[in-house]
């Protein structure tokens, strides 16, 4: 259990649900949570080629005197020794730098978008930036804690989708949960083409060991197809497989999935590197 998930704790009922999801994820995947209790409403994350400023809403600064106690209780209940992250460096006196050397990060669905408190909303701009820049996959939790009993990977054949499938297989391997794959047939590709993509990546043997079912869709809207995702499944998907222009014109699959299903999502961005730190 040397890998770590970075979690920004919000000392509110919503924050409790999010932390419970993170703890559950850590237990399933065999990693340790590291909790950050913000003292300022913004922080910076310096990635390799980009710096992202995260502007939190004020709910993240709620009741700081009880935040450590509440987070510790939840972590201990989950079987973890509480470990809190304290920023070592500051770009400005109220602007801490947060380490980016984590293996996973849990983000609220939208960090600073007020609408996300009542609905799923769109993925916030900052979360999108983190997903795009980070080496690690980003966990977006469902609004209320729920256990998951299977892994569902969205596989569309892009490089990010291949990474997502590899990660899904890894989680399935560690957690022992069955793996489902959902593919929407596009660009005149057939079922056989997608299977060949998996073969080309030398994942066939592992897939045979873990695969429960592989669903292919060629009819109906993409959002309608999402009904087939089990409500208690953990969803892994690649993001930004296409360029900006294509996303603007035709929309993004990630946004569709995010705004349609309430499952926990693990998003693999274009800069994801598996086991980068490999501690």
């Amino acid at each position: 259990m040397n890998h770590q998930l970075f979690h920004i704790f919000r000392n509110t009922p919503v924050g409790r649900e999010t932390l419970l999801q993170s703890i559950y994820f850590c237990n399933q995947v065999g990693i340790a949570p590291v909790i950050y209790i913000p003292k300022h409403a913004k922080f910076l994350m310096y990635f390799k080629n980009e710096v992202v400023q995260i502007d939190l809403d004020n709910s993240y600064l709620t009741a700081p005197d009880t935040a450590i106690q509440h987070a510790s209780e939840l972590l201990e209940q989950g079987g973890f020794k509480p470990r809190f992250y304290t920023p070592k460096h500051y770009t400005a006196s109220t602007l801490p730098d947060i380490n980016t050397e984590f293996d996973y990060m849990c983000c609220p669905r939208s960090i600073s978008d007020a609408t996300s408190k009542i609905t799923l909303g769109n993925i916030g701009a900052k979360v999108r930036k983190i997903v795009k820049a980070a080496f690690f996959p980003v966990l977006l939790t469902s609004p209320v804690f729920k256990e998951w009993h299977s892994i569902t990977v969205f596989f569309g054949g892009s490089a990010n989708a291949v990474n997502a499938l590899r990660l899904g297989l890894q989680i399935s391997d560690i957690s022992g949960m069955p793996l489902n794959i959902l593919t929407r047939l596009e660009k005149k590709n057939t079922r056989r083409d997608y299977e060949k993509m998996v073969q080309d990546q030398n994942m066939e043997d592992r897939l045979n060991r873990h695969l429960n079912k592989w669903l292919f869709f060629d009819k109906g809207k993409f959002e309608e197809n999402l009904y087939d995702v089990p409500h208690d499944s953990f969803v892994v998907l690649g993001a930004y497989g296409h360029g900006l222009i294509r996303n603007i014109l035709f929309g993004s699959k990630m946004e569709s999935i995010h705004s349609t299903i309430y499952n926990n999502l693990l998003i693999v961005g274009p800069n994801y590197v598996a086991n980068r730190l490999s501690l």
């Binding site: 259990m1 040397n2 770590q4 340790a32 913004k42 910076l44 310096y46 080629n49 980009e50 710096v51 400023q53 502007d55 020794k81 470990r83 070592k88 460096h89 500051y90 770009t91 400005a92 006196s93 109220t94 602007l95 730098d97 380490n99 050397e101 360029g243 222009i245 730190l277 490999s278 501690l279």
Partner: protein, 574 residues
């Protein structure tokens, strides 16, 4: 789409593949021009706002103008763009030191707007540092767009800063020298060439849009031997004023931060106080270049006492503006305070030694500016070249060299770090290229981790352990808990040598009896400088690394120093 993708990575172009310096020069032209434009935009907008508000300055309530400007500036920075106050130069240096020059896109415009509001409304601050921040951020984002690496991005950040300073002062050499002396801290040909090109681009943009005018044109000065001698005294005086200004800024900021009121109210209160001072002494308002001109041209007719009062009033007003949360830099106030200091010194000298023939008070105002800038920035070359370029003449070069170098030395003696770098030095965050701290900061524990240690458990007998020793090439063995895998301690071969050669002990001794549990250990996110300190202090050659209470490897001094050498070679490669 592939055309757009190749744009983002010009290193793939055949033209640049031969020599990446060509690409840096091309990007330097773009960055220098953009930062030059930003500087002109700020300069013009301050002038427009200042002129627009000028008719209102005759009313009794005019003192609230700087308050409104400071409050709006603070609200803009805190609530709209979510950035901290301050001029931003330390942020640029910090980014260059620690993060390969990465800067937020919003910084490329935020300080321009906020400092325009502060200075244009009458706040006592300068536009130079904000425009340096802006130029540097423009450079950083353009470098990121072109997917440049850290070393190249740092040079381009320097280009942005140089272009901005060159443009705002119409002084290309000052831009180049400032960027290398203050921002990068590294004089290397690979830095100088693109930064020089950016300085030229920034200056040309300024000349094209604003005309090729020298800020403080003057008559020739006839420097005498007495003036050379007196310049030593002026250097001491400007050093004292510099220290006073530094302390005053720190004190006002300290007091201001203790007052628990919203930042914009605090900024407004500071602006209000400046407005009140400005009603009696207009020299404290805004950037004050107009008054510098009149001092150099000997049109500042007030007597010694008024000049001395104006000197301290300007120091106080600058401290109030910047310390209370207004946005702006220290460059322009330093020039005004320096010229007032020079004037004060000259007039005192003229009273004490009326029979000697001194050059004139304009020359002393110039020298005072150089003394203040050099002392405050602890960057003597910047002070010298800036004064030479903005006054358009070399005939004061001898006393200029004396004042700049002596003032810098004295200030460095009393305040070891410059105004810009003080906070970074205090936090140990100033990591100049090629220094020990910088080399170590570019290495991390995971990079140096050695994982070939064989672990043992506490319930193993010595006899079994002997077999493990045979397989290992290490002389230390981490002991883990048999059930949980928790790191319990270490066994050093040296400390158990007496047991190893006694076969009677093989079945009688368990490892928990001979292991060392009082072991220094480090964590993956620890700084290597701290780890090296522990190893030096405790005379250790290796130290275990633990994550989540589990042993994950060791850091050895040999590997660390080996990597250190490689990193140093990379960093100092020209």
């Amino acid at each position: 789409m592939s055309i757009f993708k190749s744009w983002r990575n010009p290193f793939k172009w055949n033209f640049f593949r031969s020599d990446d310096r060509l690409l840096l020069i091309l990007i330097a032209v773009i960055v220098g021009s953009c930062s030059g434009l930003a500087a002109v935009a700020l300069n013009r907008s301050i002038l427009i706002l200042f002129d627009w508000l000028h008719p209102f300055r005759h009313y009794w309530w005019a003192f609230i103008l700087p308050a409104i400007g400071a409050a709006l500036s603070s609200i803009f920075l805190e609530k709209i763009v979510n950035e901290g106050a301050g001029h931003g130069v330390p942020e640029v240096v910090y980014s260059v030191s620690s993060y390969g020059g990465l800067l937020r896109f919003r910084s490329s415009f935020s300080r321009i707007i906020s400092s325009c509001l502060t200075i244009g409304s009458g706040g006592s601050a300068g536009p130079e540092a904000p425009v340096v921040m802006s130029g540097a951020a423009i450079g950083a984002n353009i470098a990121s767009f072109f997917s440049l690496n850290d070393r190249q991005r740092i040079i381009i950040v320097g280009c942005g800063a140089a272009g901005a300073i060159s443009s705002i002062f119409n002084a290309p050499i000052s831009g180049l020298v400032f960027s290398i002396e203050v921002i990068l801290g590294e004089w290397k040909a690979s830095n100088i060439v693109p930064i020089a090109i950016a300085s030229v681009a920034g200056t040309e943009i300024s000349r094209f849009l604003q005309g090729n005018s020298i800020a403080f044109a003057h008559h020739n000065f006839d420097i005498t031997f007495f003036d050379i001698g007196a310049s030593f005294g002026l250097a001491i005086f400007t050093a004292v004023v510099t220290i006073f200004l530094t302390r005053s800024l720190k004190t006002v900021r300290g007091i201001s931060e203790k007052i628990q009121i919203p930042l914009w109210v605090r900024a407004a209160a500071g602006g209000c106080a400046v407005g009140i001072i400005g009603m009696f002494l207009p020299v404290v308002l805004g950037e004050g270049y107009h008054f510098i001109g009149s001092m150099i041209n000997e049109n500042f007719t007030q007597g010694l006492l008024v000049v001395a009062i104006a000197l301290f009033a300007k120091i106080f007003a600058t401290s109030l503006t910047l310390g209370s949360g207004g946005s702006g830099g220290i460059f322009a106030p330093c020039l005004v305070i320096g010229s007032l200091a020079g004037l004060t010194y000259y007039r005192a000298l003229a009273i004490i030694y009326p029979s000697l023939s001194w050059v004139n008070e304009g020359c002393y105002a110039l020298l005072g500016m150089a003394g203040l800038i050099s002392g405050m920035l602890q960057a003597p070359l910047t002070g010298i070249f800036l004064i030479v370029e903005i006054t358009g003449g070399y005939n004061v070069i001898l006393p200029l060299l004396i004042v700049s170098s002596v003032s810098t030395t004295l200030c460095h003696y009393i305040e070891p770090a410059s105004f810009y770098l003080k906070a970074l030095v205090a936090k140990g965050q100033l990591l100049r290229p090629g220094t020990d701290a910088r080399v170590l900061s570019d290495l991390s524990v995971p990079e140096l981790l050695e994982r070939d240690c064989l672990t043992v458990n506490q319930n193993m007998r010595l006899g079994e352990f002997i077999h493990i020793i045979k397989k290992s090439r290490r002389n230390i063995f981490p002991v883990e808990d048999e059930k949980t895998g928790r790191f319990l301690g270490l066994i050093h071969l040296d400390s158990i040598r007496s047991y190893i050669f006694n076969s009677d002990m093989y079945n009688a001794v368990f490892l928990w009896q001979i292991m060392d549990t009082d072991v220094d250990k480090v964590y993956p996110d620890d700084d290597l400088s701290e780890i090296l300190n522990i190893m030096d202090r405790k005379h250790l050659f290796s130290i275990p690394v633990v994550a989540n209470n589990k042993f994950i490897g060791i850091i050895s001094k040999a590997t660390l120093l080996d990597q250190y050498r490689k990193e140093l070679m990379v960093q100092t490669l020209d």
